[in-house]
């Protein structure tokens, strides 16, 4: 067979080609050359390492609503009940109600702390009842869709299930999204230590963002709640951040400005943070803090575990960067 084909080719080689065929072949060759040239022009890679200069203005994703009435407090501390739901309602009511923050038809991202494979009693994650009440209020205020999500530290399925948040949020009709590789996109934050990082998209693809952290002890930064909760916005290897934990928290809080912050201090981990694991490590404080100022919320919160805002690095940085006000006593605040 091969020989036969070959001999035919040989025979053909001796025949002259027609003008038509010659033109056709030239046209085809030119087309291929042209296409190759076009591709290399369009997709030309100039090389280099692609490193760009760090610096420039820090990026901000602000979800802040319009300023409330002048009489509205910035910080509301609810401590008049033992029911988490009641506390949440009263605190948000004191700020002017959820309608001030959520408009009809909004997509609302609710960001609890679902970082650890711990049960509600361990107080390492946000209390599911607090999350539930925030979700309910958001729906009542007219939210079209409420997304509840977090990028967990431990295995996400376990964290979401055992924190109790998956079930409570799902029962209320919220969309619970579990972190997966395809949900992270690289974003330039231009922070002092956080420049280019993968960002968890469900938290930023929303009209309004409500931060619902849990107040707890942290071994490195002493106390964490609202500002540190944005660690859950990051993918990649977050373990490097601890080398400069205060600046990285400040960078994140600079980048991410939520509509509202609702700190769960119903049960607070006093030691062994941020994971806990021992029921005795946590005590019931029955408080919920609502604020439009994440720095002030943390500044008040840290007093709950016996810390002073001046001793907490990231609060000072947040204050200096004018993300919020560290001296919460000087702000208009109410206790309800």
């Amino acid at each position: 067979m091969t020989i036969r084909c070959f001999s035919r080719t040989l025979r053909r080689m001796r025949e002259p080609v027609s003008r038509r065929e010659a033109l056709g072949r030239i046209a085809k060759a030119s087309a291929v050359l042209g296409a190759a040239a076009a591709i290399s022009r369009l997709r030309f890679d100039p090389g280099g390492l692609g490193l760009s200069e760090v610096g420039g203005d820090r990026q901000v994703r602000s979800f802040a609503g319009p300023p409330g009435p002048a009489s509205a407090p910035v910080l509301a501390i609810a401590k008049s009940s033992t029911e988490p739901a009641v506390l949440v309602r009263r605190a948000i009511e004191a700020l002017g109600g959820m309608k001030r923050f959520v408009s009809n038809g909004d997509v609302v991202a609710v960001k609890p702390n679902i970082g650890w494979d711990r049960m509600p009693v361990h107080a390492a994650n946000t209390n599911p009842l607090v999350v539930a009440e925030v979700v309910r209020l958001a729906f009542d205020a007219g939210a079209r869709r409420v997304v509840v999500t977090d990028a967990s530290c431990n295995e996400p399925n376990r964290c979401f299930q055992r924190s109790g948040i998956w079930r409570t949020a799902h029962d209320l009709g919220a969309t619970v999204i579990l972190p997966a590789a395809h949900r992270f996109r690289e974003v330039r934050m231009k922070g002092d230590v956080l420049d280019v990082w993968p960002i968890y998209t469900p938290l930023v693809n929303a009209d309004k963002v409500i931060n619902v952290p849990v107040a707890k002890h942290h071994n490195l930064s002493k106390y964490t709640a609202a500002m540190k909760n944005w660690y859950g916005l990051l993918g990649g290897r977050r373990n490097r951040l601890h080398q400069n934990i205060d600046v990285s928290i400040a960078d994140l809080a600079t980048f991410m400005r939520p509509t509202l912050t609702v700190v769960d201090a119903t049960r607070v981990l006093m030691r062994n943070g941020p994971q806990g694991g021992n029921i005795d490590d946590a005590i019931d404080l029955h408080q919920v803090i609502a604020s439009t100022d994440q720095v002030a919320a943390d500044a008040y919160g840290c007093t709950l575990i016996g810390q002073k805002p001046e001793n907490i690095g990231y609060l000072k940085l947040g204050h200096e960067r004018r993300i919020g006000v560290m001296h919460w006593e000087e702000l208009p605040h109410v206790e309800v």
Binding site: A181, P274, Q275
Partner: protein, 683 residues
């Protein structure tokens, strides 16, 4: 096979001593009103397998040339094939006519396909059963895949926070029903572990119906069945397929392998799991094929994300979510050194190109085990040799290479009970029935006594031979961190069948098939590689899916040590030369943050240490010396459970500054660090 010089006449049937003309097989007679067939006709018909070995060599010849003809542009020309098969010119006409007849038949409104030979139709019940078998194969393969996909914890919104995390399906079901696994572990541990009692079902089925497991149930067998149909479609067909489906001597290999493995089990190693078909399927598909598909999927999602077309991104996100919740999990799975596992799967599937179902015929120890048992089967084949016309249709469709054809004894031990032979037989030769007469059947495997003894001896000697090398009696490997709840190493090797269920289910991708870390004998047994994933503190899923009890079914309370001693799988150690606070004056202690025990096994000492200022000037002055406050981590070995969370999160990724070794594992009485009962932090 028909002799080439008498294409028109069926051959004499030698074992009856009968010669002379027999009524011609009707398809071979020229169809009326047709001319020589064309290549197109032949092509149009090439896919139909059931006609393959119909009749004479002319048909074979015309069928073997199909797609090449148009390329050559010559019909019936110099094709080597037809020249070889058709001596003289005459039969070309026959073949042409036959082809044309078929071509016409397939073109017209499909008149009832005519069966060759005497055209006696197969019994209705058999035709029904063949379809039932196909459905069963598809169904069981589907079930196997479903179980395999669900050998992963995905969480659910319906579970409350304090309900223990368990899998909703008996995902290890196929392994529990595997009598070879049960037999091996019975010999090695002298006990039948829990769910392995299900293997009695398959045992009972085999005693009733023979190797129905192989032909109807086995997902790995179905895979080979499928590939034996797809791979050789253009190569092993017709005559070649008939040749390939003859019983071969090397089919005995599987019996010898099985014997060797059973002998090894008797000596104390369930190493036969390396060849058990269910283990191979779970291991190769679960650790190789699925992660590879996931890799492609994620790569595709990345490309979709780059396009910046919103609709495409949404669609890709949606499909990724769906796949992550049904087929794989939300993060890419990696498995240590699985290239060999994947390569062997591909190789063994590729063998189907040359010998259909090579694995099932030559290597499968479970098939051999069931083959031995099938000699007692009550259901089987009865053959009437005198009616056989040697058309070989049964052989074309045979799965087990068990000699269904006339003139030789049927090999019941090799038969997969697929019933293809009776369905294909156009004469009244093959009958499957209860309590068949055994005149045409051999039911015991045809083995050589010396080889039997030799292979059993080899299996028995292999294990001490491997263990003299050190593992596990003398050599400890710091890398062999067994899953939580694993039994002591010698007992572990008696039980572990390398099925990879534990590795597949591990939610953190922490368990991996050992390569040679645990010696040659420990190939593909589970080890924990904290660098890739750590052991989730309250997770006990590996024990839940372990079919043989190599990993015991412990509860969360037992594992975490609530009111008792926790299960430790190793101990963390610091490499102070690499640790940031220890060696570089830089704050870190992520390890302490992630340490899941309470009180934490990692504790930090606050120190003030000198550190050179990194903002020194270039003026030639010495940089300033600063004092930095640091927390330096330490491990409390009495509290450490060796979960490896610290190693996983250590920011020094290539060679972590804190690492876990197997020392101090609860299951061992010798690989320990501390004197017993010195535990001061525990109740």
């Amino acid at each position: 096979m028909l002799p080439d010089d008498a294409p028109d006449l069926p051959s004499p049937i030698p074992w009856l001593g009968r010669t002379g003309p027999v009524p011609a097989i009707d398809t071979l007679s020229p169809a009326p009103g047709t001319r020589g067939g064309t290549a197109n006709h032949a092509q149009g018909h090439a896919g139909s397998r059931s006609h393959d070995a119909r009749g004479g060599p002319g048909a074979t010849a015309s069928r073997r040339e199909p797609r090449r003809l148009p390329l050559l542009g010559v019909h019936g020309g110099p094709g080597r094939v037809s020249a070889a098969h058709v001596p003289g010119g005459a039969p070309v006409a026959v073949s042409g006519a036959a082809v044309a007849a078929r071509g016409v038949a397939s073109k017209k409104a499909r008149p009832k396909r005519k069966r060759p030979g005497s055209g006696i139709p197969a019994r209705k019940v058999i035709r029904g059963l063949v379809w039932a078998r196909r459905l069963a194969q598809a169904g069981f393969f589907g079930l196997f895949s479903f179980f395999l996909f669900n050998t992963a914890f995905r969480g659910t919104f319906s579970a409350s926070a304090d309900s223990p995390v368990r899998l909703p399906w008996p995902v290890e079901g196929f392994l529990l029903a595997d009598p070879f696994v049960a037999a091996m572990t019975l010999l090695s541990t002298h006990a039948v572990y829990r769910g392995l009692a299900w293997s009695l079902v398959v045992l009972g089925l085999t005693l009733l119906f023979g190797r129905v497991f192989c032909g109807w149930i086995c997902p790995f067998g179905t895979l080979h069945h499928f590939f034996a149909w797809v791979f050789p479609s253009r190569y092993v067909r017709g005559k070649a397929r008939v040749e390939a489906n003859h019983t071969q001597g090397w089919q005995r290999a599987k019996y010898y392998l099985m014997l060797a493995f059973l002998a090894s089990a008797l000596v104390g190693s369930a190493i036969g799991g390396l060849f058990d078909p269910i283990c191979v399927a779970v291991r190769a598909i679960g650790l190789g094929v699925l992660p590879a598909l996931q890799y492609l999927g994620i790569r595709g999602a990345g490309v979709a994300a780059e396009t910046n077309v919103r609709a495409l991104q949404t669609a890709s996100d949606g499909s990724q979510d769906y796949l992550a919740r049904t087929v794989w999990t939300s993060s890419q799975a990696y498995f240590h050194q699985t290239w060999l596992i994947a390569f062997l799967l591909i190789a063994i599937l590729f063998m189907n190109r040359f010998i259909p179902r090579f694995w099932c015929r030559a290597l499968c120890p479970l098939g051999a085990f069931l083959g031995v048992l099938s000699r007692f089967a009550l259901f089987g084949m009865e053959k009437d040799h005198s009616k056989c016309t040697d058309c070989n249709l049964c052989l074309v469709h045979c799965q087990g290479a068990d000699s269904p054809q006339g003139g030789v004894k049927h090999r019941q031990d090799e038969c997969h009970m697929c019933l293809n032979c009776e369905s294909a037989c156009p004469e009244d030769v093959i009958k499957f029935r209860f309590l068949p007469n055994r005149r045409g059947t051999t039911s015991a495997p045809d083995l050589e006594r010396r080889t039997v003894l030799a292979s059993a001896a080899a299996g028995a000697v292999a294990i001490p031979g491997l263990r003299i090398a050190g593992w596990p009696d003398k050599g400890y490997s710091e890398k062999v961190i067994r899953p939580p709840g694993a039994v002591e190493e010698r007992e572990f090797l008696e039980r572990c069948i390398r099925c990879a269920e534990c590795m597949k289910v591990c939610p953190n991708n922490a368990l991996h098939p050992a390569f040679f870390e645990a010696g040659v004998e420990g190939l593909w047994t589970p080890i924990l590689i904290p660098r890739i994933g750590y052991c989730e503190y309250s997770c006990v899923l590996c024990g839940q899916v372990c079919p043989t009890g190599a990993i015991q079914k412990i509860t969360e309370k037992q594992k975490m040590g609530i009111g008792q001693k926790p299960v430790a799988i190793g101990t963390a150690m610091y490499d102070q030369g690499r640790c940031l606070p220890w060696a570089m004056g830089t704050p870190c202690i992520v390890c302490e943050e992630f340490c899941p025990t309470s009180p934490k096994a990692i504790w930090a000492e606050e120190v003030e240490v000198p550190k050179r200022d990194d903002h020194y000037s270039t003026q030639g002055e010495q940089p300033k010396m600063l004092t930095v406050k640091l927390k330096r981590p330490h491990v409390d070995p009495s509290l450490c459970i060796g979960c490896g969370a610290c190693e996983k999160v250590c920011p020094i990724v290539d060679k972590p500054a804190v690492y876990v070794t197997s020392a101090g594992e609860t299951r061992s009485k010798t690989n320990v660090i501390l004197l017993e009962n010195t535990s001061y932090g525990r109740t």
